[in-house]
């Protein structure tokens, strides 16, 4: 695999993750547990979709890729590179909150590593999203700790959510082809390094919350190779529904 292609793979999987989880989280807009949280969660969903858009623009501008709207909304499911974790339906709020906690810490670690990337567009983007991600993890940590220390019932719910999420979250760090090349060229440090850093970052919060961190025995891989859950296809149909009425038209 060529370096150029490896960079595009990296950007595509990051963007697809953010596009899909952003859509999932946006489904809570108007349905949140309390209005204040509804607003906060919606902002973060917007940020995710915004990050995806920025990444697709990098593909377009740096690699002569297609229009971000077309690329984001009209590919076939097998051409998406998102992890299964992002695809899962919103489920209960505890599931969505736990996914937000695990995913946003992973995203933060990834962008932090990119702030030293030799690929300038990603390095710039990492600087741009830093403040947003700081808020996302502040928000996630506060909720996890508060709910887990608010009594047995809520801690049990959060532990269940963590157990449900954890192997899926491992899929964020599915190794990709061409990773060695990216590491050698100092584009980013590779999935194994990000995973370790992620564990280092979430562990103190998990501990403070009194949760038990599961062992990553069977990370859910496949997304990075274009193998997806049934839920992705359903969501993609929705996302492209209006577009496909007339792909040539502007909306």
């Amino acid at each position: 695999m060529q370096l150029q292609q490896a960079i595009q793979e990296l950007i595509t999987k990051m963007a697809d993750d953010e596009l899909v989880i952003g859509h999932r989280n946006s489904e809570w807009t108007g349905l949140g547990p309390v209005m204040e949280e509804d607003i906060a969660f919606s902002s973060m969903a917007q940020d995710k979709i915004g990050h995806a858009w920025a990444l697709y623009r990098i593909l377009q501008e740096s690699f002569g890729g297609t229009d971000p709207d077309q690329f984001a909304f009209l590919r076939n499911a097998r051409d998406y590179r998102c992890c299964h974790f992002a695809e899962m339906p919103i489920g209960s709020y505890e599931f969505s909150l736990m996914r937000h906690f695990l995913f946003d810490h992973a995203e933060t670690v990834r962008y932090q590593s990119l702030s030293g990337s030799s690929f300038t567009p990603l390095q710039h983007l990492a600087g741009k999203v830093k403040g947003e991600l700081k808020y996302h993890t502040l928000h996630a940590d506060a909720w996890i700790i508060q709910l887990c220390t608010a009594g047995k019932d809520s801690r049990r719910r959060m532990q269940t959510a963590l157990d449900d999420c954890f192997q899926l979250a491992g899929g964020i760090f599915e190794p990709g082809e061409g990773e060695d090349l990216l590491i050698a060229e100092q584009i980013y440090p590779g999935e194994a390094a990000l995973y370790q850093q992620w564990l280092n970052n979430i562990s103190p919060v998990i501990e403070k919350a009194g949760l038990t961190l599961p062992v990553l025995t069977a990370p859910v891989y496949g997304g990075r190779k274009g193998q997806h859950t049934q839920y992705l296809q359903q969501l993609l149909e929705e996302m492209g529904e209006v577009f496909r009425l007339d792909p040539e038209a502007t909306w």
Binding site: E27, L31, V34, E36, I39, A40, S43, A142, Q146
Partner: protein, 122 residues
Amino acid sequence: MNDSLDPRVNRLRLDKNDGSFKVEEGENWNVFEVFHQEKRGAHHEHVGCVHAPDASLALIFAKEQFGRRKKCVNLWVVRSADILAFDLEDEDMFANNPDKTYRDASGFKVMDKINKFKAQTK
């Protein structure tokens, strides 16, 4: 499955609202007043309030409800219960302020005196 035009709604397990569900008093927590600082060096100004279980979540909520659009560099939150204010009937305590011109620059007409002095000494 529900029979809705909303695909989101069709994914929810929706029960009929039979009117028996009640939110309990206090379920929306306490109220915190929010003060917004537009730029460094400026005063924090009152912009509204949020419901939150404690000050740290109040600040997290305030950030998006009151700092998501216009320029903002910082926020304060303070429990509404901790705000003490005068009553409307006490407005009369302030009534004579405008009369006390000795507290105000406008109460001192130095130019009149300077001009008068200059005219005399010419």
